[in-house]
């Protein structure tokens, strides 16, 4: 008897949760579906849901017209480059803060976090000016460095919280056995730290991929990543819903897939260990 009630309740929960989940997901689903329609079907009244002539034409047109691959490559380069660069700089820093803490470690961590709070628009012109003076406006390199810097505090923080979970006794044991600092890092810590580093990599790649202030303001034709490519669709000519959908789907698909793997890290990475 009791079991029947719980099953009933479970069914009710399931129905409500799925309805809400699908409603929230609907804009993404609709974008993906529309990308396979013809322009006429995309604006059909009443809207067609699944029963239309599926076509890949839009994807071909988007690539042909706007050289989509170049924007994609810029996104991969900038997001990937800034993340890897950030990890290389952050691993030693996070390592030393986690394993050789001093009185100032906490202050340094909090200060790093505070640089993340600086509103980008407040320093827009100085960065713009520096970029012009250095000749790196609209260059992939310049943007890579800026995105590395804005995500560096998050990278350090995430790595720090992961490193903190590695038991100190293991390090002591290694030291007792006469392992040098270099060997300690290379052979003892690194293998244990790899899952944490991978999670950090994943989340920061996503954040850098989706960043849409500096990528819009510091690029033009050359270094523009997908965020800027999509923004160029904001003043359309003629029928374009299906093409917009195809371009959007291509821009978000890789990240949606990566995002599935990074749900847990999202909480850790964006709350700085304040919610567990």
């Amino acid at each position: 008897m009791a079991r029947a009630v719980t099953t009933q309740r479970k069914a009710l929960n399931t129905a409500i949760a799925w309805a809400i989940g699908l409603l929230i997901f609907f804009p993404i689903l609709w974008t993906i579906l529309t990308s396979f329609k013809t322009e006429a079907q995309a604006i059909a009244d009443p809207p067609v849901f699944l029963f239309f002539d599926w076509t890949l034409e839009n994807y071909a047109v988007v690539q042909e017209r706007s050289n989509y691959m170049r924007f994609l490559w810029n996104s991969v380069f900038i997001a990937g480059g800034s993340t890897i660069l950030g990890i290389i700089i952050a691993v030693p820093a996070a390592w030393s803060m986690a394993f050789v803490p001093s009185k100032r470690t906490k202050d340094i961590l909090l200060w790093m976090l505070s640089t993340k709070m600086l509103p980008a628009v407040g320093v827009l012109y100085p960065i713009y000016l520096i970029f012009i003076k250095l000749g790196i406006l609209d260059s992939r390199l310049g943007l890579t460095v800026v995105l590395m810097l804005i995500n560096l505090p998050i990278i350090v923080w995430m790595l720090y919280t992961y490193f903190k979970e590695i038991p100190g006794e293991i390090l002591e044991a290694a030291r007792m056995d006469g392992a040098s600092l270099r060997n300690e890092i290379l052979y003892v810590l690194t293998p244990m730290a790899i899952p944490g580093i991978a999670s950090t990599l994943l989340l920061n790649f996503i954040l850098a991929w989706n960043e849409a202030f500096w990528t819009l303001n510091l690029t033009a034709a050359q270094a523009a990543p997908l965020t800027a490519f999509i923004a160029s669709y904001s003043s359309p000519e003629g029928l374009f819903f299906a093409k917009l959908s195809a371009a959007s789907t291509m821009a978000i698909a890789p990240i949606l897939i990566l995002g599935w793997f990074s749900q847990k890290q999202l909480v850790r990475g964006l709350t700085f260990g304040a919610v567990k």
Binding site: R9, N13, T14, A17, W18, I20, G21, P27, I28, T31, I43, P46, I89, P92, A93, S96, F99, K106, I108, L109, M112, T115, M117, P119, A120, V121, G122, V123, Y125, P126, Y128, L129, I130, L149, L152, E172, N210, A212, F213, L216, T227, A231, Y233, S234, F240, F241, L244, S245, S248, A251, I255, L256, L258, V267, L270, T271, G273, A274, V275, K276
Partner: protein, 288 residues
């Protein structure tokens, strides 16, 4: 435990990150401060010298300042209310036993991974377009007049788009907090006959208060500087010019760097007030 040797090594290892962030923070900050005290029009005469606090006074007394503050407050406040309220409901719902929990969770979280320019454009065209958008079809289906979303109801539309993007974040963090709730306490209350609302008010909500505070603080910092959503939907027209957007226009569109920089200093101060509260909570958590 740590030797002198490892201490100096540690300092050396921290140096690159610290120096880079210090430079990233100080150099542009000092430049912004410097520009804010000067009459600086790069396209119309360049740097025309020291003007004291004139930019600060002009930025505040300009006719677009208070509307921008109001717009900012409405967007930040509206999105916070929507995301926190629905976030709590969703977190409690997702915590219940059900079939396909993992899949539902992914469906709910997905909008967070959509880049801001995509979500803004998809909403603007495929949903809010007054002729061909889904919402227009829906309104017509029920015999109502389609709404000109982004021109007549511009602020509500932006709040809606941004809330859709940030609801997953609030939900995910609140869900993490709900899952750490002591279920025995809840069961005891249930057995004592406490109705759901009482259990929610006296047990669940107090338990979530910390997570809610953190969601509010972190979102406020990010929401104060939303940009792409306005850039691609209205371009700041129809009363959607936020403080961030106003400063952007002053600096890059009308190239009045002195005035824009003064605005930037205001934005930095505002963000720091919020950040101070957040840092205090995060700092407390570091000790434990």
């Amino acid at each position: 435990m740590a030797t002198q040797h490892s201490r100096s090594a540690a300092r050396l290892m921290m140096a690159p990150a610290v120096i880079l962030l210090l430079g990233w923070m100080l150099v542009p900050l000092i430049m912004t401060l410097w520009f804010s005290f000067r009459k600086y029009l790069p396209l119309r005469g360049g740097d025309q010298g020291w003007v004291g606090l004139e930019n600060y006074a002009r930025f505040i007394s300009s006719s677009s300042f208070w509307p921008a503050v109001q717009t900012t407050l409405i967007i930040v406040g509206g999105v916070l209310i929507i995301t926190v309220a629905f976030g709590i409901v969703l977190a409690l719902l997702l915590d219940q036993p059900m079939w396909g929990q993992g899949v539902v969770r992914i469906l709910v979280i997905a909008p967070f991974f959509v880049m801001p320019t995509v979500s803004a454009l998809v909403w603007k065209n495929m949903f809010m377009d007054p002729v061909n958008g889904i919402l227009a079809h829906l309104w017509k289906f029920f015999g109502a007049e389609p709404v000109q979303w982004l021109s007549q109801e511009s602020l509500q539309s932006i709040v809606m788009i941004v809330s859709w993007q940030w609801l997953p974040f609030a939900t995910l963090i609140l869900l993490t907090a709900v899952q750490s709730l002591d279920s025995e306490q809840l069961e005891a209350a249930e057995m004592d006959g406490a109705p759901f609302l009482k259990r929610f008010w006296f047990i669940i909500l107090p338990h979530l208060s910390r997570a809610i505070t953190i969601v509010i603080l972190i979102q406020t910092i990010f929401l104060l500087s939303i940009f792409a959503e306005i850039f691609v939907t209205t371009g700041g027209a129809f009363g959607t010019r936020t403080l961030t957007y106003l400063i952007f226009q002053r600096v890059l569109e009308s190239q009045n760097v002195g005035l824009g920089s003064a605005g930037g200093v205001y934005a930095i101060i505002l963000a720091n007030i919020v950040a101070l509260f957040l840092m205090r909570i995060v700092g407390k958590n570091l000790d434990t």
